[in-house]
C-alpha cells in the first residue's frame, strides 16, 4: 500500500519536476541567447511568468472543439511519454510506468501530441497554420529517418528494444553508447537537432514566413497549455536522449547536468544559424545524418 | 558646372531634328528639358527609348496648373550610356483629363499611372489596372488636385483634439474624456497663450 501511494506521488511529482526543469531551461536559454546577443536578457523565471500570464488571460478564442482539445492532446502526450521514460536509472520513484521504457512505444507516443496539435491548428482555418503543419510533418519525415536508423543500429547491436535494456548495456560495459556506437550517436544527435525545432530547423514556426505557424490562432490558456506541455516535452526528449546515448543518470543532479549540456547543442546551433527552407531542412537529414545512420547499422551488421 | 555641355547639346540637337515643334533646352549638365505637344509624347518616348537608348524611366510626375486649367505630365528619362537626364513635359486639358498610357515601354509605368490616376484623376487610356493604389474607398475629389482643400477635409472628417486649432484650454476636454484631473500646464511651463 505504501508503494502504491509512493507511485501516485511519483505521478504527481514527476510532471511537476519536468515542468520546472523545462521552464527553467527555457529561461536559461533565453538568458544565454541574450548574452550572446550582447543583451542582459530577461530573468530566468521569465518563461514561468509568461505561462502564468497566458493562463490568466481573460478570454480565449477558439474555432471549435478540435482547437479546444488540441492542447489537451499535447499535454497528454507529453506527460504520458514522461511516465514511460525512466527518468532516473535505478530509482523506483522516478520510474512511474516505464516498465521497460519501450523505444518504439515512445516514438509513437511522442507523435500523439503533435497530431492533436496539428488537428487543432487545422481547425482554425488559418492558412498559416496549415502551412506550418505541412512543413512540420514533412520535417518529421526528414529527421525520423536518421533517428530510426540510429535506434535500429543500437537495438540490433545490444539486442534490446527498451531504454532499460540500453541503460543496462551501458552499465555492464560501463561506457556510454556514444563511445560504443559513435556513428549511431551522431545520427541520433543530428536528428535531435531537428526534433527540438531550433534554428536552422524551426521551419514550422517561422515567424517571418508563416506568422507563428500552427500556433497562429492559439492564445491565452491554449497557448499556456501548449507551452507547459512544450516544457515537459523538452525535458522528456532530453532525458530520452541522455538515457539512450549518454548513460542515463543516477541522481537528479547528474541528470540536470547531462540534459543541460545536451540541450545546449541545439540551442547554440540555433543562435548562430538562420533557418533552412523546408526542403533544404529535409534534405539535410537525408544526407549526412542518414549516411551516419547507415554506417552505424553496417558496422553492427558486418 | 556650366562648362562642357557638348554631350547635352548633341542630344538636344538630335531631339530638335526629330521633333521640330518640341522646345528643347539644355538646363544644365546632365539635364535636358523637352516641352512637347500632347500628341508628340508617345513618339518622343519611343524615339528616346529606341534611338537615344533611354532605357530607364526614372519618374512620371504630374503638376496641377489650375490657373491654366491644365495638367502637366512630366516624364523623366535616363540613359545609362550618356548619363544625361531628359525631362519631357506636356500639358493636357484639366477638364477632360485623359492620356494614352506608356505602359508598353516600361512596365513600372503602370504603378505611376495608377498613382496619378488616383491622386489627380487623370485617366490613362489603355492601362487596365488603374485600381486603388494608396487610398481606399475614396469618395471625394482626387486629393492632389489643387482645388481639394485638405484642411477642410480633415476638419470635417476627423476628430480634432480640441485646442489644437484655436488654442483653447485643453484640460477640460481631456478631463472629460479620461476622467483624470490635469495640472495647469500653461502655468507650469508658461507656454504661449
Amino acid at each position: 500500500m505504501d508503494s502504491f501511494w509512493m507511485k501516485i506521488l511519483g505521478f504527481v511529482i514527476t510532471p511537476l519536476v519536468a515542468f520546472a526543469v523545462g521552464v527553467t531551461y527555457g529561461g536559461i536559454v533565453r538568458k544565454i541567447t541574450a548574452r550572446i546577443q550582447n543583451r542582459v536578457g530577461p530573468p530566468i523565471y521569465q518563461n514561468l511568468l509568461d505561462i502564468t500570464k497566458l493562463y490568466s488571460k481573460k478570454t480565449a478564442v477558439n474555432h471549435g472543439v478540435m482547437q479546444h482539445l488540441g492542447p489537451v492532446f499535447a499535454i497528454t502526450a507529453s506527460v504520458t511519454s514522461l511516465f514511460f521514460v525512466p527518468v532516473l536509472r535505478d530509482s523506483s520513484f522516478w520510474f512511474n510506468l516505464s516498465f521497460d521504457g519501450d523505444l518504439i512505444f515512445l516514438l509513437y507516443m511522442m507523435v500523439f501530441g503533435s497530431l492533436g496539435m496539428a488537428l487543432g491548428a487545422g481547425q482554425t482555418g488559418n492558412p498559416n497554420s496549415a502551412i506550418g503543419v505541412s512543413r512540420g510533418l514533412a520535417l518529421m519525415v526528414g529527421y525520423e529517418i536518421p533517428f530510426v536508423l540510429s535506434l535500429v543500429a543500437l537495438m540490433i547491436q545490444f539486442q534490446t528494444t527498451s531504454i532499460h535494456g540500453l541503460l543496462a548495456v551501458q552499465d555492464t560495459f560501463s561506457s556510454w553508447i556514444i563511445f560504443q556506437s559513435p556513428f549511431a550517436t551522431i545520427a541520433g544527435i543530428l536528428a535531435f537537432l531537428g526534433m527540438m525545432h531550433y534554428a536552422p530547423f524551426d521551419v514550422p514556426f517561422a515567424p517571418a514566413e508563416v506568422a507563428s505557424g500552427p500556433a497562429s490562432e492559439f492564445g491565452g490558456k491554449y497557448l499556456a497549455l501548449m507551452m507547459t506541455s512544450g516544457s515537459i516535452f523538452t525535458f522528456v526528449k532530453l532525458v530520452l536522449f541522455v538515457n539512450i546515448y549518454f548513460g542515463g543518470a543516477e541522481d537528479l543532479l547528474t541528470l540536470i547536468l547531462k540534459t543541460f549540456i545536451l540541450y545546449m547543442i541545439p540551442v547554440l546551433t540555433g543562435i548562430v544559424n538562420p533557418r533552412y527552407r523546408t526542403e533544404q531542412a529535409i534534405q539535410f537529414f537525408w544526407k549526412w545524418p542518414t549516411v551516419f545512420g547507415i554506417i552505424a547499422i553496417l558496422i553492427v551488421v558486418l | 558646372m556650366q562648362n562642357n555641355l557638348e554631350l547635352e547639346n548633341k542630344i538636344a540637337e538630335k531631339i530638335k531634328i526629330a521633333f521640330q515643334t518640341a522646345e528643347v533646352q539644355v538646363q544644365r549638365k546632365q539635364r535636358i528639358k523637352v516641352n512637347l505637344n500632347e500628341d508628340l509624347v508617345h513618339p518622343f518616348l519611343t524615339f528616346a527609348k529606341n534611338t537615344l537608348s533611354y532605357k530607364h524611366l526614372s519618374h512620371i510626375s504630374c503638376v496641377d496648373w489650375i490657373e491654366d486649367n491644365q495638367f502637366e505630365l512630366v516624364y523623366i528619362l535616363l540613359s545609362y550610356d550618356s548619363l544625361v537626364q531628359i525631362i519631357a513635359k506636356t500639358r493636357i486639358n484639366r477638364e477632360k483629363a485623359e492620356f494614352p498610357t506608356a505602359r508598353n515601354y516600361w512596365p513600372q509605368v503602370e504603378t505611376y499611372e495608377r498613382e496619378i490616376h488616383e491622386l489627380y484623376g487623370i485617366n490613362f487610356v489603355g492601362n487596365d489596372h488603374l485600381v486603388d493604389f494608396v487610398l481606399e474607398d475614396w469618395e471625394d475629389l482626387p486629393p492632389m488636385r489643387r482645388d481639394f482643400d485638405t484642411v477642410k477635409y480633415s476638419q470635417e472628417h476627423f476628430f480634432n483634439r480640441p485646442g489644437r486649432e484655436d488654442a483653447q484650454d485643453v484640460r477640460k476636454t481631456v478631463t472629460k474624456h479620461s476622467g483624470e484631473e490635469l495640472p495647469d500646464l500653461a502655468k507650469i511651463y508658461s507656454v504661449r497663450n
Partner: protein, 367 residues
C-alpha cells in the same frame, strides 16, 4: 466562385513584412502564383502637405518620408532649392553633408543586415547590428540633436557646425564598425546557410533590370555599374576615392555582397571626408525662412541613398510655397512592380527575404 489558390496575406500586421504594407499572395502548395503589393497604409499626403507649407517648413516633412534614412530627402530638398536659386554651398558644408549621408547609409545598411537575417530566422544578427546602429544614431544626436529625424541639411549649407571632438568620435565609431565587420562576416556573410538560402533567389533579369527601373544595390547586383555618386557626382563625391562594387547574378546573394562591400566603402569615404574637411563657413546667408521665395522653375535632383537612386522633382511658381514636390524613392519601383514580378514562382519562405533584399520601404512608396 471560390478561387482554387489559397490567398495568403503577408501584412500589414505580419512579422515578415518590412514597414507597413501588404503583399497578397496567391499560392498553391508553397509556390507563389501571383503577388499583389498593396500600399497606402502609411499615406500621409506629404506632397499635398508640402504644397501648403513654406519651403523651409517642408524640411521637417521630407525627412519623415523615409524613416530609416531621412538624410537623402533633406539633401534633395536642399539641392532643389539651391538649384532653383543658383545658391552656392560652402565647401565645408558639402563635406559635412557627405559625411551625414554616408553615416545614414551605414545606419541603413546595419538595419538592412538585421532585417535580412531576421527574415530568415537569424535573430542574433539584428541584435548586434541594430545595437551597433545606435552608435551612429548617437553621432547624429551629438551633431543634430535628433536620433532619427535630423533636419540638419539646409539650403545653403547645414544647420550647425560639427561639435567639438566630433571628428574623433566619428573616427572611433568607424574603427569600431570596421572591427565588427568581421563578426558580421562570421555570422552572416560567411554562413553557408545564408549562401544556400540566398543563392538563386529573387533573381532580377539583367537584361530587364534597366527597363524595369531597378536602381541601387539590386541593379549593381545584376552586374550593372551605376551609382549616382559617380554618374552624377553631387557635393564632393568627385573628390573622394571610392569603388562602386558590383556582383553578378541578380539574386539576393549578389545584392547582399554588394551591400557588404559598400559598407566598407562608406567607412572609407567617411574617413576621407574627415581627413579632407576644410575649415570655414558651414552655411550661406539665407533669407528669412518665413518670407523665402524661390524663383519659378523646376528641377530634378537625385541622390544615391542606401537603397538606390532617390529623386526629387520640384516645381516652384515663384511663391512662398512649393508648387509641386514629387518624390521618387527607390522602393517605389522595387516594392511594387518589381516585387510583384520576381515573387511569382518564388517560395512562401522567401517572400520576406526577397523583400528585405530589395530594400522595400513602404513610407517612400506612398509618402
Amino acid at each position: 466562385m471560390r478561387e482554387k489558390e489559397t490567398t495568403l496575406y503577408l501584412g500589414p500586421q505580419h512579422p515578415g513584412i518590412t514597414g507597413n504594407m501588404m503583399v497578397k499572395l496567391k499560392v498553391t502548395g508553397d509556390t507563389i502564383i501571383k503577388a499583389e503589393t498593396h500600399v497606402g497604409y502609411l499615406h500621409r499626403a506629404f506632397e499635398k502637405l508640402m504644397e501648403a507649407r513654406n519651403w523651409m517648413q517642408c524640411f521637417p516633412i521630407v525627412c519623415r518620408i523615409c524613416v530609416p534614412e531621412p538624410d537623402p530627402n533633406e539633401e534633395n530638398l536642399a539641392r532643389i532649392i539651391e538649384e532653383l536659386e543658383g545658391r552656392e554651398v560652402p565647401e565645408r558644408a558639402k563635406y559635412i553633408r557627405v559625411m551625414v549621408l554616408e553615416l545614414a547609409r551605414l545606419g541603413t545598411y546595419l538595419l538592412w543586415m538585421g532585417g535580412q537575417s531576421g527574415s530568415m530566422g537569424l535573430y542574433t544578427m539584428p541584435q548586434w547590428t541594430i545595437g551597433d546602429r545606435d552608435y551612429i544614431l548617437d553621432l547624429f544626436e551629438a551633431l543634430t540633436g535628433g536620433r532619427v529625424y535630423h533636419m540638419y541639411i539646409w539650403p545653403g549649407g547645414v544647420r550647425r557646425d560639427l561639435p567639438e571632438g566630433f571628428k574623433d568620435k566619428v573616427l572611433k565609431t568607424m574603427d569600431y564598425l570596421e572591427g565588427r565587420l568581421k563578426d558580421y562576416d562570421d555570422l552572416l556573410f560567411d554562413n553557408a546557410l545564408f549562401y544556400k538560402r540566398a543563392k538563386g533567389i529573387g533573381v532580377i533579369d539583367k537584361s530587364k533590370a534597366m527597363e524595369w527601373g531597378v536602381v541601387g544595390a539590386p541593379l549593381r547586383g545584376c552586374g550593372i555599374k551605376h551609382d549616382v555618386r559617380i554618374d552624377e557626382p553631387y557635393e564632393v563625391y568627385d573628390k573622394l576615392k571610392f569603388v562602386v562594387p558590383t556582383a553578378e547574378g541578380g539574386d539576393v546573394w549578389a545584392r547582399a555582397l554588394v551591400r557588404r562591400q559598400e559598407f566598407e566603402q562608406s567607412i572609407s569615404i567617411i574617413r576621407q571626408v574627415m581627413e579632407q574637411m576644410p575649415s570655414g563657413e558651414f552655411y550661406n546667408k539665407v533669407p528669412n525662412p518665413l518670407n523665402w521665395k524661390v524663383p519659378a522653375g523646376d528641377a530634378y535632383v537625385k541622390t544615391e541613398s542606401a537603397r538606390g537612386e532617390f529623386g526629387y522633382y520640384g516645381v516652384s511658381d515663384g511663391g512662398l510655397k512649393p508648387r509641386r514636390m514629387h518624390v521618387r524613392g527607390p522602393a517605389y519601383v522595387h516594392g511594387v512592380s518589381l516585387l510583384e514580378r520576381i515573387l511569382v514562382g518564388a517560395n512562401i519562405a522567401d517572400v520576406s527575404f526577397i523583400m528585405n533584399s530589395l530594400g522595400t520601404c513602404p513610407p517612400e512608396i506612398e509618402r
